[in-house]
Amino acid sequence: MTPEQRRRNRNTGLILAAIVIAILAWSFVRGSAILTS
């Protein structure tokens, strides 16, 4: 694996991890919002 490929892999992985965290947070926020509305 070239350093360039490693860098691309890391960046793509971080973006995907951020999506996972955002969906997790969104689920909590929506859950709470539905109950308080």
């Binding site: 793509t12 995907l16 997790l24």
Partner: protein
């Protein structure tokens, strides 16, 4: 798929020319970073879990052989049903497909390994932790989770510590799945061999890419749902507790937003495997490659829009029922495209019926029955009548056993020569298929009638009128379970080096980069990426 030819595959795919020698002993497995080793570990783990879940199923069927309570109290029976579902889904089917992905995705795209080899190791080693949590929960006060694999509130709010074990187990296995999915996406997007464009990629890789996106989209939702359960149980929140202003139905919405795509997570990789096997044994190129890719993507997108068809009986407005009913029916269109294309691939092909092909055709035939019963329960008024009956049990076992499991068996026979370097025993393989196919139908077909006659699921006892069909199902279940021992024998025989030596490409009509490396695939492959034309 476009025809793939590699213009440069190094003569030596061995590991001697690689900087890292192959580790030996327990370190090879504990610290494994090689995609093939990790793939093997995933497959062995899932086989163990298949037998654990299968044993629980046989305990259920034993109790149900006659009306009345013979062996288990209803509380324990409910623990068996619940843990059977959780173990089969999170311990057997999903890890088995990840095992296939680990083995085959790098080989099919000409990559030397997965993108994140150490994370791959961590993803795997989380699995035994989850399995221990699930299994140990039977031995804690109050026993295991008995609220069904869906863990519906408010029942799940009231259970003992076994529910916490299940919640942590789901967390751990979910984290493993998410890491596995990230690894697969990054590997496919960034590590394909030069020239291997997306639309030249194998259907198996496409199906897994889309499955991996589904996983990262919905596993966090499940994690959130069970975390909210946990905080309701121990930290005073009331997300799902009506007494504190919460709503138990909210749990069902959040759960099924995960749960329905989860069904496709367990079936799309199966589509990929069948799409590899059918052209190989029809000796024809896959019919409608691009329409297959778009169909898989369409199924994945639609899977996000139909979750509440699991909840018709919760009392939703008629407009809601109509929407979810029609949206669910829409899924049959891309699914029909796939079935049509597999049949069209076989049409006028030079067909032979080795074991992988038998399982693939068995898959198409029996999965289609599961698809049709799915259409029937998509109709809201019918669903309300058969909700929580054995009709639904029959439906989803036709999808997940005859669908996912048949494809896994087919894939295992198809790639076993590449994994072991030996041909499996064809005669025993065919016996395995026919025993599995017949016993499967003996087990689950009568459940349609039980359900239509009103037999509810998750009950340890039943009215005497249901006895005959239950007895047929129980006999079929034991037959099915014992037939799987044949599979173990065939696999062990190949792994122990008995059987014909497999050539690099044992199947005349097979296509793809995995067949350009020797059998068994060397420890390191595609150290120099091939160029694909």
């Amino acid at each position: 798929m476009s025809s793939i030819t590699a213009d440069h595959v190094p003569a030596s795919q061995g590991h001697d020319d690689h900087a890292h020698a192959m580790p030996h002993g327990w370190r090879r497995w504990l610290f494994a970073t090689n995609h093939k080793d990790i793939g093997t570990m995933y497959l062995i783990f899932s086989l163990f879990m298949l037998f654990e879940g299968g044993t629980l199923a046989l305990l259920l069927r034993t109790e149900l052989f006659e009306p009345g309570l013979q062996f288990f109290q209803p509380e324990l029976f409910n623990q068996f049903t619940t843990m059977h579902g959780l173990i089969m889904i999170f311990g057997a089917i999903m890890p088995a497909f990840v095992g296939f992905a680990n083995w085959m995705v790098p080989l099919q795209i000409g990559a030397s390994d997965m993108a994140f080899a150490r994370m791959n190791n961590f993803s795997f080693w989380l699995l035994p932790v989850g399995a221990i949590l699930f299994t140990a929960s039977f031995f804690v006060p109050g026993g295991a989770n008995a609220a069904g694999w869906t863990m519906y509130a408010p029942l799940s709010l009231q259970m003992g510590i076994g529910m916490d074990f299940a919640i942590f187990g789901v967390h751990v296995l979910g984290a493993s799945s998410i890491m596995g999915a990230i690894n697969i996406i990054v590997t496919i997007l960034n590590m394909r061999a030069p020239g291997l464009t997306m639309m030249k990629m194998s259907l198996f890789c496409w199906c897994w890419l889309i499955t991996a996106y589904l996983l990262i989209a919905v596993m966090p939702v499940l994690a959130a749902a069970v975390t909210m359960l946990l905080t309701d149980r121990h930290f005073g929140t009331t997300f799902f507790n009506a007494a504190g202003g919460g709503d138990p139905v909210l749990f069902q919405h959040v759960f099924w937003f995960f749960g329905h795509p989860e069904v496709y997570i367990m079936i799309l990789p199966a589509f990929g495997i069948v799409s590899a096997i059918v052209p190989a044994f029809a000796r024809k190129r896959l019919f409608g490659y691009s329409s297959m890719v778009y169909a898989v993507a369409a199924i994945a997108i639609l899977s996000f829009l139909v979750w509440a068809h699991h909840m018709f009986s919760t009392g939703m407005p008629v407009t809601g029922q109509l929407y979810f009913m029609y949206a669910t029916m829409l899924i049959s269109i891309p699914t029909g495209v796939k079935i049509f294309n597999w049949v069209a691939t076989m049409w006028r092909g030079s067909l032979t019926f080795e074991t992988p092909m038998l399982f693939a055709i068995g898959f198409i035939f029996v999965f289609t029955i599961g698809g049709f019963t799915g259409l029937i329960v998509a109709v809201a008024p019918i669903d309300i009548a058969v909700h929580d009956t054995y009709y639904v049990v029959a439906h989803f076992h036709y999808v997940l056993v005859a669908g996912s499991l048949f494809a896994l068996f087919g894939g295992a026979y198809y790639w076993l020569p590449k994994w072991t370097g030996r041909m499996y025993d064809e005669r025993l393989g065919k016996w395995h298929f026919w025993m599995t196919m017949i016993s499967f139908n003996v087990t689950f077909f009568p459940m349609h009638f039980l359900g239509l006659a009103g037999m509810p699921r998750r009950y340890a006892d039943y009215a005497a009128q249901f006895t005959d069909f239950h007895q047929v199902a129980t006999i079929g279940a034991f037959w099915f379970g014992l037939s799987q021992l044949l599979f173990i024998y065939v696999v062990l025989k190949a792994y122990s080096g008995r059987g014909e030596i497999a050539p690099a490409k044992p199947w005349e009509g097979a296509e793809g980069l995995e067949w350009t490396v020797p059998s068994p695939a060397p420890f390191h492959t595609f150290v120099t990426p091939p160029t694909v034309k």
